[in-house]
């Protein structure tokens, strides 16, 4: 597989990239810091990625960086057949309620710009014979909830967009995979108390890679979150107003 990974220097993306490297995939990493990208590229090469791992500058807050980044990836890999997006912004709900700029940044990054990046990727994948677009949304997008109102809203929009893509373009060869991670123990969630069903990045990544290989449109990871979210989606409003979850 020839894959472009946006946001794979850390957390879930890192775990997924390592699995792909270990099986000998060709990879190109997109991200903001050249030094960080280079360090991850060397790591993936040592772990077995085929050929040199390419890198390109790409910033989720600068949509004008998307096209040049994907262009460079296309050149370096001589075409690609998968794009994986794990990049995203996270901020505490409380802070955003008092800081509209922070809220604007998160909404732009996690919804508008992520969608724009997907649009750019979709066009390029469809120009060839198609391929896989795997994007990390979140279980936070499944229900409006007190601790993740803004983040959840952005992810809800993103999930909806990915579903639409899947309906329209699957027949033309674009396989959309919407990943809905629950709580995963990564640097991003360090310091938070892991809830029941918290996942280890590697196990979660294995599940996601299987979904990519099979082109499954939606994957919950860890799997238990599918059931958890089914319950949460069906809780009456009266309950949702009372609980802090």
């Amino acid at each position: 597989m020839k894959a472009v990974l946006f946001g794979a220097t850390k957390g879930m993306g890192r775990a997924l990239a390592r699995l792909m490297a270990a099986r000998g995939d060709r990879l190109c990493l997109l991200g903001r810091s050249a030094e960080d990208l280079e360090r991850s590229a060397r790591d993936l090469e040592i772990r077995g990625a085929q050929g040199p791992v390419a890198t390109a500058f790409c910033d989720l807050l600068q949509p004008e960086s998307f096209a040049p980044a994907l262009e460079k990836a296309e050149r370096e890999l001589e075409g690609f057949d998968a794009v994986v997006v794990t990049a995203g912004v996270m901020a505490p709900q409380e802070e955003m309620e008092n800081d509209p700029q922070l809220a604007a940044r998160l909404l732009a990054a996690d919804f508008t710009n992520t969608v724009l990046f997907c649009e750019e990727s979709r066009r390029r994948l469809l120009e060839k014979t198609g391929g896989t677009l795997c994007v990390f949304s979140s279980v936070a997008g499944e229900r409006g909830r007190k601790p993740v109102i803004l983040y959840g809203a952005a992810k809800a929009g993103l999930s909806q967009y990915l579903e639409g893509l899947d309906h329209k373009f699957r027949s033309r060869g674009l396989r959309t995979v919407c990943v809905k991670p629950g709580f995963v123990k990564t640097g991003m969630t360090a310091g938070l108390k892991p809830p029941p069903f918290a996942g280890e990045p590697e196990a979660v990544a294995r599940r996601v890679l299987r979904a990519i290989d099979r082109g499954r449109p939606v994957v919950y990871a860890p799997a238990a979150w599918r059931g958890v979210m089914f319950v949460i989606r069906n809780l009456p409003r009266l309950v949702m107003r009372r609980i802090e979850f």
């Binding site: 220097t9 957390g11 890192r14 991850s40 790591d43 310091g191």
Partner: protein, 429 residues
Amino acid sequence: MVDGLVFKSEDLASATESASLTRGLGRSYGDSSLPAGAETPVADATAADRLLDFDPDSGVLRAEAGASLFDLNRIFLHRGWFVPVSPGTQFVTLGGMAASDVHGKNHHVDGCFGEHVRGLKIRVADGRIVECSDSSELELFRATIGGMGLTGHILEVEFTMRRIASPWIWGESERIKNLDLMVSGLKEAARDWPMTVGWVDCLARGDHLGRGILMKGRWARPEEAPTKPPSRKGRIRVPFEFPAVALCKPSMKAFNLAYYWKHFQHVRRGILHPDAFFYPLDALDDWNLIYGRRGFTQYQCVLPHADDNGPARRFLELFVSAGGMGFLCVIKDCGAEGKGVLSFPRSGMSIAMDFPIHPSKTQIIVDRLNELVIAEGGRIYLTKDTFTRAEHFRAMEPRLEKFTAVRRKWDPELRIRSAQSVRLLGDRA
């Protein structure tokens, strides 16, 4: 477990900016990786686990300090490479291996891990990031190897991997009747085998004192080894916590005897899975559950050789008579002292044992063992220690002065500290 502030990030350089200590996978039995106090933040290195450079010609590997030995084994074993020195568990980080200057079954020929470390990148107390090695900032380098994290936060480790003939082990294990035979067996085996270790039945007394199993191994030659690489076999788990009654003597004895008589053949030899040879305890995932909720501690010391086997004999006799129940006792003849200022091993017999923590007895047992270690001119292994008193530690460590001098030079306010350094070196909490 002590609660405290923990910073964990893929970016160890930033996580260590305001931390007072860095820890790895927490496999040290003692309190060296625990915070000095509830307000002193600790950086968790385990998310900083990238491999940065590997030269397949020389075997030199550079990696972030949180990279685990488990990961390295998974990546390198089947390609014909292994770490130069491995401790008895693979759930350790490179930073932890350097900070404890770990030793393995090959200590008598290859020394400690630190002997194979070419350089370290360290964040020192004033915030600077320093590259140190034998040719630059030598003092800092040597104090950091075996320095239990007290000289700075290790960000990167560069060391030389070892080429291996195959990923399998050719091993031989032999049933040994008593301590004299165990010690002479270890010394003899050291001449022909690159890896040796003895397991001793801690509860045997009198004529049987020191009986156990002597294990020897080397990497199998390609023509001896199975053609397929060793599998990642499923780990046996201790499924539930043994009730505390299982800790009473008879059952411990049964465990020891069972282990001993399993080897009813005098000698066994053959091909071994590397995990079974290096990491038998990892196979029991939560094996500390065997001791029940009260937890357990480990004690490890090295006693200089004597013409007779007096030191080891006196030590084991004292342990048994002091009521230190334990089933695990590992004995190993160490080679020469390494380059780390405070590194544990020195030429002599190293003895390590596990025993369950008892609210009143454990301190007394450790005190008595330490008095004997001081009298014999030995020392203890800091990474395993939780109970040693400061005055005992000072009495067995003439090297402490030198270590403290280097530490103070780089960290005059002693900002970097741990629960262990509060206990043993008198640092502020």
